[in-house]
Symmetry: C2
């Protein structure tokens, strides 16, 4: 994760965040996550490492990290926020409707096309979110 870039911990330090025990644990948990955990799941993983971490701190920390651009907050439609390291390569998400699995993908054509559409609409593209939903071919059953 964090291909060749600063770790979450380093980025925290770089912007002058106070490095508490809890933040260190959460930074590690979030850095080593290669999925998209919700707050409860982040809490679960952090709690295994340090039983003193509270859910409130998880919420406060992911919010701080997100505001500082360290984390991205995703929404997968179940009403819960999901978090991922903002410094990973840009990608979009493909949802396997049969299994619930989330596949990350990147396509330069899509990226370029979105730029063109934005220009056509009279805007400068600042960000985007693309989610595809599909079923395996040939179907699972």
């Amino acid at each position: 994760m964090a291909k060749g870039k600063a770790t979450i911990l380093e980025r925290c330090a770089a912007i002058g965040l106070r490095m508490t025990k809890q933040r260190r644990v959460l930074a590690q948990v979030l850095e080593s996550a290669d999925d998209h955990p919700d707050a409860e799941e982040v809490y679960r993983r952090a709690h295994e490492i340090d039983g003193s971490i509270s859910l409130a701190t998880v919420y406060r920390t992911v919010k701080t990290f997100q505001e500082k651009g360290i984390l991205d907050r995703l929404e997968f439609g179940d009403g819960k926020g999901r978090y991922e390291d903002a410094k990973r390569e840009h990608h979009d998400h493909f949802f396997n409707l049969d299994t619930g699995e989330v596949i990350e993908f990147y396509d330069p054509e899509i990226e370029a096309l979105q730029e063109r559409i934005s220009k056509r609409l009279g805007f400068r593209l600042v960000g985007h979110k693309l989610e595809l939903y599909g079923v395996p071919v040939p179907p699972k059953k």
Copy 2:
């Protein structure tokens, strides 16, 4: 709205939903909406027409309509559900970050490209969500 297709009311009837006064009002409100109202806003508009409608009924109705494929539920990241007639032409959403305005657009190239990406990943595309975020060019101020 509902280009050449059945109205919400007609679609309700077609699937055998009981047509109550409240559902008639909500069908009308939702059909004539060309934006993306949240439940509270749907309630406000419906309440103007018929003061006896409750917020609970709005929630129950939009959920029923959504389950029956009459409405699409959208999430714009503020934690509230937004609703739009599912029978309108397919489109994606562009967010003007300066004004909060939401522009609907459709691009056949994007649609085709998504199909190709899905195939490449080994899936049959069932649905998608694309949101673009940008600022006006030249910038507003």
